[in-house]
């Protein structure tokens, strides 16, 4: 029965633990996501959101538990370009001498030969991806000259060019302009229709209500997980944020 279940889940993380030199960052965390689902990952700074992402991409090793991506190991998910990671704007060196085109092309590296020579299909994929995020006017612009929103869209385009079926987005809405926010939310609907699975971390509670079918509240381990309407309650949020009342987080009217 378990093997049949694997086929249905894009992401299947079971009781995973991650520790850095003996310091526990995440323990007994579970997550099951199907194609076309959008899940919000909510927690305080240091609650293990980035660690969770890192475990799913294989950037850190888990010390316990099991991760299946489309029923396979993380290693083969890497080889198959299954997962795309869209970093936080703060997570990248914006002064790196590299253009929008080059960043998006990096989405294709995993499926190129060892010299990373772009084939025609790669060039086309990059062009299409850049068009979808509306940056065609900025192909050769260095990323240092972009606005925060444009930079975010560049990395989204990289994920699109990669043709990944799972997207992990670290704070996709932080520090972006209205136009980018609108474009991202449109893309989310398209991704959903394409059957992609999205896991996004966010500080903004309104975005969770707006976009996420499911929500995963974590504080070193899973506090609550399920349908947003059921799980995203003031009580759960208070627990997740270590006793801070939701009034403080939402404003008094909600």
């Amino acid at each position: 029965m378990e093997t049949i279940n694997y086929q249905n889940f894009r992401i299947d993380a079971e009781n995973i633990c991650v520790d850095y030199n003996g310091k526990v960052a995440l323990y007994d965390a579970n997550l099951k996501l199907k194609p076309g689902q959008i899940c919000g990952l909510v927690g305080m700074n240091g609650a293990g959101k980035t660690t969770f992402f890192n475990a799913l991409t294989g950037f850190v090793n888990i010390s316990k538990g099991k991760i299946r991506i489309n029923g396979e190991s993380v290693r083969s998910a890497q080889k198959d370009q299954t997962i795309a990671y869209v970093p936080q704007n703060e997570g990248i060196d914006s002064q790196f001498p590299i253009s929008v085109w080059d960043v998006v092309m990096m989405g294709r590296y995993g499926s190129m030969n060892i010299f990373r020579c772009p084939r025609e299909s790669d060039v086309q994929a990059v062009k299409d991806a850049i068009e979808r995020v509306d940056l065609t006017d900025h192909l050769s612009t260095p990323i240092g000259n972009l606005s925060g929103g444009q930079r975010k869209r560049t990395f989204l385009a990289r994920a699109i060019a990669q043709r990944a079926s799972i997207l992990l987005l670290d704070e996709p809405f932080s520090g972006v302009d209205i136009r980018t926010e609108k474009l991202i939310s449109e893309l989310f609907i398209q991704f959903k229709n394409e059957g992609k699975t999205i896991l996004l971390s966010t500080h903004d509670m309104i975005h969770v209500r707006e976009f996420c079918d499911l929500v995963l509240l974590i504080n070193k381990t899973v506090v609550a997980y399920g349908e947003t309407s059921e799980v995203f309650t003031p009580e759960n949020i208070t627990t997740t944020f270590g006793g801070i009342s939701p009034d403080f987080l939402f404003g008094p009217e909600s």
Binding site: G58, Y85, D102, M106
Partner: protein, 290 residues
């Protein structure tokens, strides 16, 4: 007489070329500069200046031991260069001491070991040439070694050029799409050790880190394209080597120091006058007059 020949630029350049040792020095130093300049753009973007300093100092005992045992000095240097990095990683992981402290601690320890070894092993090791370089006194076997190592580093960097750029820019993405980040990390460290080994012949152990970071830093101020940055870095490294050697020939100055000073001056020039990122933003200045 020296002053007379000085009066024409032509003889300023051609006179030194009549000496065999000068031709060799100019060629070898250009080669070494090109290799270090190539690597330099990766090191500056990765933020490995201190790591470069550490590795280049740590090769000292390796050089001494290799000389004493009659082995190629590059072998000893390479072992200690990579060994120092492994040790830094180990101590960092197993203790609460901060990384920059560990780096400083390990490389000074290795360097001190080298100096002690030189004083103990009575051989024909020329401490001065190890510390300050001796591009004018480079031997034939050194020439062969240098050419071999330089070629190796250039080939490695050329093959993995794009992967290394991705590794410096966004290692997490590299890992996510199945690129071997562990391999790239050690590839870059290996190239760093090898470049430090060839670089120390030109300018010596103490200053070799300048060869590894200054050209990259200069290029970083002048362009927003990675490929251009590499080219500018290589070019500025070669030009400073040539300037340094000529200056040291005519004015009888320490060669290694002259090369590094030439690099520093080129950096300062870029720092002040780089079109976009210089102190006096010339691009804006000229744009205002159009």
């Amino acid at each position: 007489m020296e002053l007379c020949s000085f009066l024409t630029l032509d003889s300023f350049i051609t006179d030194p070329l009549t000496h065999d040792f000068m031709r060799k020095a100019l060629l070898m130093s250009s080669l070494v500069a090109a290799v270090c300049g190539f690597l330099s753009s990766y090191l500056t973007l990765k933020g490995w200046a201190l790591m470069g300093d550490a590795v280049s100092h740590s090769v000292m005992p390796g050089v001494v031991v290799a000389y004493a045992l009659g082995l190629p000095f590059s072998l000893g240097a390479f072992i200690f260069g990579v060994g120092s990095v492994a040790l830094i990683g180990f101590i960092k992981q197993k203790s609460r001491v901060k990384e920059d402290t560990v780096i400083g601690l390990v490389f000074t320890g290795f360097f001190a070991l080298g100096i002690v070894l030189v004083s103990k092993i009575k051989s024909n090791i020329d401490l001065h040439s190890i510390l300050f370089g001796s591009p004018l006194g480079i031997s034939l076997s050194d020439v062969k070694q240098t050419m071999f190592i330089s070629l190796l580093v250039v080939i490695l960097l050329s093959i993995f050029r794009k992967d290394l750029m991705l590794y410096c820019f966004d290692p997490r993405h590299a890992k996510t799409v199945g690129i071997n980040v562990f391999f790239l990390h050690y590839l870059l460290l290996t190239c760093l050790s090898l470049a430090a080994v060839v670089g120390l012949q030109s300018v010596g152990i103490i200053l070799v880190v300048a060869m590894l970071i200054t050209p990259g830093a200069t290029a970083y101020l002048l362009t927003d394209k990675f490929d251009n940055m590499t080219m500018i870095s290589v070019l500025s490294a070669i030009i400073s080597s040539l300037i340094g050697i000529y200056i040291s020939f005519w004015f009888d100055l320490e060669t290694g120091g002259s090369i590094v000073l030439a690099q520093t001056f080129i950096f300062l020039f870029a720092f002040l006058f780089a079109p976009r990122y210089g102190i006096f933003k010339l691009k804006k200045f000229f744009a205002g007059y159009k």
